[in-house]
């Protein structure tokens, strides 16, 4: 009798644990729990800046988007210098990779670089290497591997990560999170203040817009 109870208990425990593992591997939401305001950023980039900063900037972007490129080069430096480096704000990049077939692969590559602690270096390299034509090969698998090589990453590890599609679901999750928040263009920004107040807008808007919103929040 006791043996039967123990055996049944073990079987039930295996089923429960198995179900949890299976469910969590299909649903990335179970893997973490990081949120900023209403945005689940757990599958997004690592946090750029002080994680305890009172303001979080969530950027929904695509590595092949010219407007994102323009914002990265023209306005992000001022936002970084005046708000992120000073600890007033931090930034999370969430992929809205929709522009071309190479867009989601580039996003996956950024997370393969994250495995080796080089997410932001890789992110910056992609935006520094962007070419005007979408899907012209500048962000294909071979070039993404070459970028990893140029950053002195462990190429064997990086290549196997990229080829296996390890972060495919993570990128898809980010895209669905962006869509859930009504992002219909890249870049779209959500700025979350200390009292969880949120301001959402689209386009690679000038530094003055960010300053005005964040100064009102602090």
């Amino acid at each position: 009798m006791n043996k039967k109870v123990i055996l049944s208990g073990i079987i039930i425990a295996i089923i429960v644990v198995g179900s949890i593992v299976a469910f969590s591997s299909n649903n990335p939401n179970m893997e973490g729990g990081r949120t900023h305001g209403t945005v689940s950023t757990e599958m997004g980039s690592p946090i750029l800046g002080d994680p305890e900063a009172p303001i979080t900037i969530v950027e929904f972007g695509d590595y092949q988007c010219h407007a994102c490129y323009n914002w990265f080069h023209t306005h992000k430096p001022a936002v970084y210098d005046n708000y992120i480096a000073t600890g007033k704000a931090n930034l999370v990049f969430v992929d809205l990779a929709f522009l071309g077939r190479d867009s989601p692969i580039a996003s996956q590559a950024s997370y393969c670089a994250e495995d080796q602690g080089m997410y932001w270096q890789y992110h910056d390299l992609l935006y520094n290497s962007q070419e005007p034509q979408i899907d012209n090969g500048w962000a294909n698998s071979e070039r993404l591997k070459a970028f990893a090589f140029s950053l002195d990453l462990d190429t064997e590890k990086f290549d196997s990560c990229l080829d296996s599609g390890k972060y495919s679901k993570r990128v898809q999750y980010n895209i669905s999170e962006a869509k859930k928040h009504g992002a219909k263009a890249t870049p779209t920004f959500i700025i979350i203040g200390p009292n969880n107040q949120q301001e959402q807008f689209q386009g690679g808007q000038p530094y003055s817009t960010f300053k005005q919103i964040m100064d009102n929040m602090i």
């Binding site: 306005h75 890249t186 000038p206 005005q212």
Partner: protein, 159 residues
């Protein structure tokens, strides 16, 4: 040439139409190309490296504002063929289409609706934005020239 322009734009209706076309095209294209924003605040900027794109938008809007009312005049006053308006409308249209940056909401909607075919066509429009605008301006310039020429002849015959 200036006499022909004078004939058309001395009528206040055509001057107003030109101003309306210029304003709608300029504001519309600057919004689509993210040179100006209206939300959350009105803001404008010309990112480094996009100066030529900005200048082409101003030229395209000006040319459309000049050529379209002249062709309307041709049709309305001279009761003539509608052949030439095709070139000006087509020039304005493809110039505007080139400005519909694929990163923007229009691109998003098209890619979401038409999938890879939409992505390919928008990728083309984005990649060749500047050459397409140049082509549109050349088309409008040709239409302008032929319209001026035909108006001059038709005015002489009619007068």
């Amino acid at each position: 040439m200036f006499d022909t322009l004078k004939i058309v734009f001395s009528d206040i209706r055509y001057s107003l139409l030109a101003i309306l076309i210029f304003t709608i095209m300029l504001v519309g294209l600057l919004l689509l190309s993210e040179f100006i924003f209206i939300e959350p605040f009105v803001a404008g900027h010309i990112p480094q490296g996009t100066e030529l794109g900005f200048i082409l938008i101003v030229i395209l809007s000006s040319m459309s504002a000049l050529v379209l009312p002249m062709n309307f005049y041709r049709i309305k006053i001279l009761k003539n063929s509608k052949k030439k308006i095709g070139g000006s409308v087509f020039g304005s249209f493809i110039g505007a289409a080139a400005g519909a940056c694929s990163c923007g909401p229009i691109g998003f909607a098209i890619i979401s609706t038409f999938g890879s075919i939409g992505a390919t066509s928008l990728g083309f429009l984005t990649s060749y934005e500047l050459p397409i605008r140049f082509f549109a301006i050349i088309l409008l310039a040709i239409t302008y020239y032929t319209t001026i020429k035909s108006l001059r002849i038709e005015c002489k015959i009619n007068s």
